[in-house]
């Protein structure tokens, strides 16, 4: 029991980092414009896949970039706060690249393959470009494709997802120094914080201009609690290095 308290007291900063990372992921998921199954039939605005699937796909691609950067920086010396910032930035950019390439190719399919202009059904005018949206929404649908506002929102979602995942990974590496355990646990924390907000989203969300986005505070509270629990468990898991392994 005393060992557990000592572990928690020693790694309290990692727990805080995991909680911040978890909240970044949760907020990031709300930014990603997902249309679910209807979007796959060009029946709703957004990317034609599930919330968790795309957020995880982009965030974990960022995690790969962050993991490599962590290894490079740790070979040069101890990983401090400034290195963690660089690693998180690398992860965030990796996730943004995945998200933007997916969205641009998705728009190719909508525009050239299905023959529809990207349009949002949640707003009459695009908040960024001020272009009208309603006349371009196909009859019997609730929009299609990714107009500029959704595209920018998705990019921000990728940024936050990649940042959060990378931060969780760095915090775990500080605790156990084992990339294998840290990567698996970071994926786990990522999925927990991507699944919980999907109850807010209920299948489809267009981005920060969608009325559902106002539900973010509820997700922050839920993910704060979930990430805190994950963080407490995570700092008690030793890596192979602690057992004298490689």
């Amino acid at each position: 029991m005393i060992d557990i308290i000592t572990m928690l007291a020693t790694h309290w900063i990692s727990i805080i980092g995991i909680v911040i990372g978890g909240i970044c992921i949760a907020v990031g998921v709300h930014f990603v414009p997902v249309g679910g199954a209807p979007a796959a039939m060009a029946q709703a605005t957004g990317i034609g896949t599930g919330t968790v699937q795309l957020a995880a796909g982009s965030g974990l691609t960022g995690l790969l970039a962050a993991g490599y950067m962590y290894k490079t920086l740790s070979a040069a010396g101890a990983v401090g706060i400034s290195e963690v910032i660089l690693i998180c930035a690398t992860g965030a950019v990796g996730a943004m690249i995945m998200m933007t390439t997916t969205m641009i190719v998705g728009n190719w399919v909508y525009i050239y393959g299905v023959g529809v202009p990207p349009a949002s059904a949640k707003v009459e005018y695009d908040p960024i470009t001020k272009n009208s949206q309603a006349p371009y929404v196909a009859p019997g649908t609730v929009g299609q494709g990714m107009p500029t506002v959704c595209f920018v929102s998705g990019t921000i979602g990728g940024l936050l997802g990649g940042l959060g995942g990378s931060l969780v990974y760095c915090m775990l590496m500080w605790v156990n120094g084992d990339p294998a355990i840290s990567s698996i646990f970071a994926i786990g924390v990522f999925l927990v914080n991507a699944v919980l907000p999907s109850y807010n989203i209920q299948g489809t969300i267009e981005g920060f201009h969608d009325p559902k986005f106002k539900r973010v505070p509820k997700a922050i509270v839920a993910c704060f609690i979930a990430s805190l629990l994950c963080g407490i468990i995570a700092v008690m898991i030793p890596g192979t290095a602690m057992f004298g392994g490689i």
């Binding site: 199954a37 979007a39 796959a40 039939m41 060009a42 029946q43 990317i47 034609g48 896949t49 599930g50 699937q53 795309l54 796909g57 982009s58 974990l60 691609t61 995690l63 790969l64 970039a65 490599y68 962590y70 290894k71 660089l86 690398t90 950019v93 990796g94 690249i97 995945m98 933007t100 390439t101 997916t102 969205m103 641009i104 190719v105 998705g106 728009n107 190719w108 399919v109 909508y110 525009i111 393959g113 299905v114 023959g115 529809v116 202009p117 990207p118 005018y125 470009t129 272009n131 009208s132 309603a134 006349p135 196909a138 009859p139 649908t141 500029t148 990019t155 990339p179 294998a180 990567s183």
Partner: protein, 298 residues
Amino acid sequence: MEPAMGMGLVALMGAAATVAGCSEDLESDIGSQSNPNSQVQLAAQVGYPHRIFNKAISGEPPSNAMYCAVGAGVAMMLLNSVSTSPLLAIAVGAFVAALLNGVFSTTAYMGRNASQTRFNQYVYLDVLRNHVLGIMGHAYVTTFCIVGLSYVMWNQNLIGHPFPFPVIAMIWGLAVGAIGSSTGDVHYGAEREFQDFKFGAGLNAADSGNITRYAEAGLRSSIDNAWFCSKFGGPVTGIAFGMTVFLDNWRSTAFQGWTAVVAGTIIVILIIIYNRYLELYARKNYGPYPEYSGDVEA
């Protein structure tokens, strides 16, 4: 590692990812997995029984993550225990993953169609025989390419990524599934499944489930769907995944530290600008829908 060698490896990984993305999308089109499958599932229930394959085992990202992790796990076991050559180990790993895919495809098709007998939707054994090998073949190509590129990333003499081999393969499997589900599947779901309807609009909610069931000659099968999607949906999925793998690895190979971050940010900004250009192109060329009767000006 020498810069030229590093760039060569990045190019190789990008090429493997392009093939993987294309075959992943075609595999999901033949099997009718992922979101467009909701219409295949609904068709019989609203009075349109069909001969389209039906295997929504799970979302594409988790299923591909599993195949790739299994393939990499088998390959790693062969590499470590019997010192097999990497190419053979990856080939055997991908074969085991393809077998797993075959088991899931068979049980999914039989289970789903057997449960729809009351809607006159039957289990067609010839559909099962004709499609499962095609699905497994595409799954093999996808797994082989992703396990191969993950091996290049993991091998300490090549790129030397710190994550375990199966975890790298799992993450890329998840990514290829997410990309395939977001890009190529739209071509299948919004266009090929509803070719009877006029080109230039998404599916009207009133027509849900009314999928195209007749081919140029006879009844349409999912092999026909893969033929159609291989002209556009499959290749663009490959480009999307190839671009993701190539651009992400290129910026971290060609540049170091914060310069790599800045290079990545510039790529992202350029893609956002290109999207705006695409949006304007579509709005100008297609124009507003004539059925629109609201008061917002186009």
